[in-house]
Amino acid sequence: MKAVALPMLAGLAAAGFAPAMAQDLTVGLKSEATSIDPQYHSLSTNNQVLQTIFEPLTSQNAVQELEPLLATSWEAIDDTTWRFELREDVTFHDGTPFTANDVIYTFCRIPLVQNSPSSFTLYMSSITSMTAEDDHTIIMETAEPNPLLPTDIVVLPILSAETLGAEDDITFAPNGECEGLGDVPQSPAFNDPEIAVGTGPYTFESWNRGNSLTLARFDDYWDGTPDWETVTLRPITSDGPRVAALLAGDVDMIENPPIQDVPRIEEAGFKIVDSLSNRIIYLHMYQDPDGEAPSISGTDGENPLLDPLVREAISLSINRAGITERIMGGYAEPAGELLPPPMFGTSGREVDAYDPERARELLAEAGYEDGFTITLGTPNDRYINDEQVAQAIAQMLAQIGITVNVDAMTASQFFSRRNNQEFPLWLAGWGASSGEMSSPLRSLVASWNPEAGLGTTNPGRYSNEEVDTLVQQAMAELDDTERERMLQEAATIALEDHGIIPLHYEVTVWAMSDDLTYEPRRDQYTLVSEIKPANGQD
């Protein structure tokens, strides 16, 4: 068989698979955007790709600090009113000028996107009115004070009102009741490069679903000429083949290589960059005093996790340094908080010490000297080495007398079962998309409160009145210093109460050919516009 195939292969090789020109860039991504419409699916997979075509008013830099983009500056005029100054002399890919009308159109369209699997309304629901003071000034009003407004709109890239068929004068109204929008194009229309125009550094060329998304340089970009003539983004979902594609020279850069392959990739002459991410891996526990804790035995029907001493014992029995070193290959950092310092709202709280002695004493003090048996739920394909971490924790808890049955499953099943409160103890992760402490506090630690939209990912129903009060206050505090103090205090109370147990911060890894540079990002995004040629200088 080989005898037949070899001459043919040689012929093909001679026909020339020339290495990519230095002007072209190919990137291997872990997953594929689900649409070219930047308002269709609120998901980092989509955002990281589409933000090279479309640009929001504000953006976050590599360490998630807020920076101007299409808005040059913004200020809070009073508690509920914001003024945004817009950048002048910006044009969309089809030549239409960027004005305040485009901003209003963009915000108006979000609630009107049909079939959205996860809507962006979440990031604009606080806005009650929006008016153009002039062509390059926007006034936004909110019902309640919202200090995070400039951060919220980071994920809302601006569309061209003119291109999408709006009138010259749009009146904003909440809940998709704007006037003057014309016939709003739905997401499938964005497969047409004539419709999918933004102001970003690259224009949308073509999309071959499942295979590649092609972008081209936008010559009239407002911030200088982009680095690459064409950019091809290829979804390669499996880890091994993604690494192989890099080693074979098919792609110039990949995201998330498996950490066990990193030494091999480096040996082959590729560059590795990594960064601490905003993703905390944590243990959460069922702590509803009125509910029946699932899958706990040996406690006469009591729920030991309601006792802060038991929760502290669990935290002290975990050797975080060992997990980081041996399971994560050093690509993680032991965590004492829900966000790595020095991000906004962190206090630099010490990592809980590894002290099995003390943990046993605490258990005895709580009346569980013989331990108990409990199930630990974990996904096995969502976070880096998630199942191995869970197994290690099970062994560490066994050291202090708690028998743990690890129940590992695929992510889709895990999230459904977790949200149905089927686990007494589980391992999960949280990436703070806003880059500050209110994100994990509101979702993971605040009491379950559907009216206020708090505690959404708190199926353990941990509840602490002090924490709730501080979080609510911080959400309405426009003064940064004061807000940070409140967030620090709220987080510290919850962590000292061991209402949630932080394990480690994930480190995100990228691998690329050594003639590229990339500043690794905390939000784990692979942003094409930030991939630069390494001109022999860093």
Binding site: M1, V4, A5, L9, A10, L12, A13, A15, F17, T34, S35, Y40, H41, S42, L43, Q114, N115, S116, P117, S118, S119, T121, L122, S187, P188, N208, R209, G210, N211, S212, R234, I236, T237, S238, G240, P241, R242, A244, A245, L247, A248, G249, D250, T410, A411, S412, Q413, F415, S416, R417, N419, G431, S433, S439, S443, P450, G453, L454, T456, T457
Partner: protein, 325 residues
């Protein structure tokens, strides 16, 4: 023949209905798609709104009823992930898989049958033994590992071929295909070999066994005795008679190759239907999973029908017995 076909068709319809119910219930039991699709930052109100938008707030029987009613009108639902009709999403990926499966089939038959006949004619020769040894390897090496090894040798170490993806495609009969460009062909070779190896081994072993059996038949001996060239003996008398089981296998295997090229497509990042199925399962894209499996049943059923027709062309006895039945 007609009666027989109609009866077979009815059975196939039943299979499809049973499949729909099983798959729908199965996927329903796995988990809630909203938990997977929704942005973690979403509030409880957003979750409820999305659940209602996808129609997942209704009781199971009602959801199934809506699905079945729409399916009867040819609408298999809208993909949760892509927001487009599930059938469109799948058909968009069909050409890539078909192309891969057909090329793999041509490879496995084109190489497998001659090697099998050779091994059957000269079972004790060095070549015959080597062929059989090779086929055992092709059988027993896991598909995934085989694919990775192909990538390692031909893409990473030798750098002759790309490690994955589909490369350049051209429009052909309204479909995007790769086999018309050099770049596309280069991308096609490794995954096609990976998909073909197992089938090739199967065909080699089958042809060899049949050849040995047929060689001993009287009509072959008679043909030789008549002084026909050995080439003619093999090409006409032997080949024609060993093809029936081979055609059966080809039919069955083509169906399974189209439906379950999943491993190969995953290893080579080949944008076909198998890859789509895996992605859809991970995202609990219920309409796509159900529609995919129903299309799969449809494809396999049609191929089986086709095989029956080819049978009757190859062997008149089959046709005649059917007529009586």
């Amino acid at each position: 023949m007609i009666v027989y076909l109609i009866r077979r068709f009815g059975q196939s319809l039943l299979a499809i209905v049973a499949m729909a119910i099983l798959v729908f219930l199965g996927v329903y039991a796995i988990g809630n798609p909203v938990d997977v699709l929704i942005n973690p930052d979403a509030t409880q109100a957003e979750v409820a709104a999305t659940t209602a938008r996808l129609g997942l707030d209704k009781p199971l029987w009602q959801q199934f009823g809506i699905f079945a009613w729409n399916a009867l009108q040819g609408d298999l639902g809208t993909s949760f992930v892509y927001g487009r009709p599930a059938v469109d999403v799948i058909l968009e990926r069909l050409p890539a898989t078909m192309e891969l499966a057909l090329v793999a089939l041509v490879l496995s038959v084109g190489i497998g049958v001659p090697l099998g006949v050779w091994a059957g004619l000269k079972p004790d020769s060095m070549a015959g033994r080597t062929i059989m040894g090779g086929s055992i390897l092709g059988f027993s090496l896991p598909n995934f590992w085989q694919g990775m090894l192909l990538i390692l040798v031909f893409a990473v170490l030798l750098g002759w071929l790309p490690a994955g993806g589909r490369g350049q495609t051209t429009e052909f009969l309204g479909m995007q295909v790769s086999f018309l460009t050099l770049d596309g062909l280069a991308h096609l070779i490794l995954p096609a070999i990976n998909l073909a190896l197992f089938k090739m081994s199967l065909i080699i072993r089958l042809t060899r066994a049949n050849t040995r059996e047929v060689c001993l038949q009287d009509y072959v001996k008679f043909a030789r005795a008549k002084g026909l060239s050995s080439r003619r003996v093999v090409m006409v008398h032997i080949l024609k008679n060993i093809m029936i089981p081979v055609v059966t296998i080809i039919g069955l295997e083509l169906g399974s190759m189209v439906a379950f090229a999943i491993v190969t497509e995953t290893v080579f990042a080949w944008p076909g239907m198998g890859k789509l199925l895996i992605d859809s399962i991970n995202l609990l894209d219920r309409p796509v999973i159900v529609a995919y499996l129903m299309l799969t049943v449809l494809i396999i059923v049609s191929i089986n029908l086709l095989v029956d027709v080819i049978y009757s062309l190859l062997d008149p006895r089959i046709r005649l017995s059917e007529m009586k039945g």
